[in-house]
Symmetry: C2
Subunit: 205 residues, 2 copies
C-alpha cells in the first residue's frame, strides 16, 4: 500500500502528477485485491483518505483509471524490452533478460492489474489501443525467438506459438503470486525461465 501524498507540500505541477499516480497505484492495488467491478470509487477514495469527487479531479472516470493502469503496465514492459534489446549480449541472453523483467513487472501493481483485470471492462477504442501496445511487446518476443532460431540458439519452432507459450507461463505468475509467499519475484522468474528454456523432458536418452 503506497502512502498517499496528500498532506505533503511541494511544487504545484509535479505534486499534481504525483497525486494522479497515487490514484492509479492505489486503484491498481484495490483492483488486484478485490477485482475491478467489486471495487467502488468510494473504496479507492477511502484508501487515499479522500472523498470520491476528489478522484475526478485527477482522472476522467473509472474506466480511465483501469486504462491508465494497463497502459502503465505495458509501458513498463516496453521500456524493459527496449533497455535490453541491442544491449550487446547474445540473442539468447537478451531473451532471458526480457523474460526476467516481464516476470517481475507482472508481480507489480500495474503489471498485475494488466493481467488480472484485463481489458474486458473497457470500451472498444481503449481495447484497441491496448491491443496495439500488446502486439508491440509480442512482436519483440517473436523477433527475439526468430533471431534465436536463426542463430542456432533457440530450438526451431513456430515463433508465434512459442511467444504465446512463454507469455502465458510468465503471465500466469500474476494469478497466484502473493508478496508474503515463500518465493521472491526474482526466484520465481529464475525458476520459470529455467524450466521454459530447458524443458521438462530429460535430455539425451
Amino acid at each position: 500500500m503506497t502512502d498517499s501524498p496528500w498532506k505533503a507540500a511541494g511544487d504545484r505541477q509535479s505534486e499534481r502528477e504525483a497525486k494522479r499516480i497515487a490514484v492509479l497505484t492505489v486503484a491498481a492495488q484495490a483492483f488486484n485485491e478485490t477485482g475491478y467491478h467489486a471495487t467502488s470509487l468510494d473504496d479507492i477514495a477511502r484508501r487515499l483518505n479522500v472523498s470520491k469527487p476528489t478522484i475526478y479531479y485527477y482522472v476522467k472516470n473509472k474506466e480511465e483509471i483501469l486504462f491508465e493502469c494497463a497502459r502503465m503496465g505495458l509501458e513498463l514492459m516496453e521500456e524493459a524490452a527496449n533497455e535490453v534489446i541491442g544491449s550487446g549480449g547474445s540473442v539468447y541472453d537478451e531473451l532471458i533478460a526480457v523474460m526476467h523483467k516481464y516476470a517481475e513487472i507482472v508481480t507489480m501493481d500495474f503489471g498485475m492489474c494488466l493481467i488480472r483485470v484485463g481489458e474486458e471492462p473497457l470500451n472498444a477504442e481503449s481495447r484497441r489501443t491496448l491491443r496495439t501496445l500488446k502486439r508491440g511487446i509480442d512482436a519483440k518476443f517473436r523477433s527475439l525467438i526468430q533471431r534465436g532460431i536463426e542463430a542456432g540458439e533457440i530450438v526451431p519452432c513456430d515463433a508465434k506459438v512459442a511467444a504465446f507459450m512463454l507469455a502465458g507461463a510468465l503471465s500466469w505468475i500474476a494469478r497466484w503470486y502473493r508478496p508474503d509467499g515463500p518465493l521472491t519475484p526474482q526466484q520465481i522468474a529464475d525458476q520459470h525461465i529455467a524450466l521454459i528454456m530447458s524443458g521438462l523432458r530429460v535430455r539425451g536418452g
Copy 2:
C-alpha cells in the same frame, strides 16, 4: 452457440436438466464473449429465446450460474485426469495426455469460462470450494511431475513451480484462442506441449 432445448418435447425430469445445462452453456458462451459483468441476465435470456424470470426457474441467481460453469470446467479436468492416470502408460506419457486434455478443455465453454472469468465475482464460500477443486487438479499435476522426476523421465525441479508453469502456459490459451483461427485446439495443444517438454534452448552444445 448451442441451440436451446426450448420447443422440443420429451420426458420431464431429463428435459428440465437439459434446460439447466443449456442455461449454463449459453451463459458461459456469453461470459466468454462479453465478460461476466457486462452480460446481463436479459442477454442470456434473449440468447435462449426466453424471458429473464424463466432463468430463475432453473438457477438460483447469477452467481450460481458462474459457480456452476466453473465447477463444470473443473469437473471436466478432474475426470480427464482420472481417465488418464493409471491407465497403463509411462508417467511421462500420462503427463502428456493430461496436458493435452487440459489444453482442450480450456478451449471449451466451461473451461474457458473458468480461466477467463475466474472466481473473483463469487462469494467467499464459493471461491473456497472452487479453490479446493483447483488444488485437486494441481496436486495431480505435481504428483505426475514428481513421479516423473523419480522415474528419471522428468528433469529434476521444484514440482510445484513446474506445475504452475505448465498450467500457466496451457491456461493462457484460453485468453487468445478463437475457434475461427488457423489452428485447431489439438494443434495448439500439441505445439505447446512439445515446447514445454523440449524447452526453447537448443540441446547439446
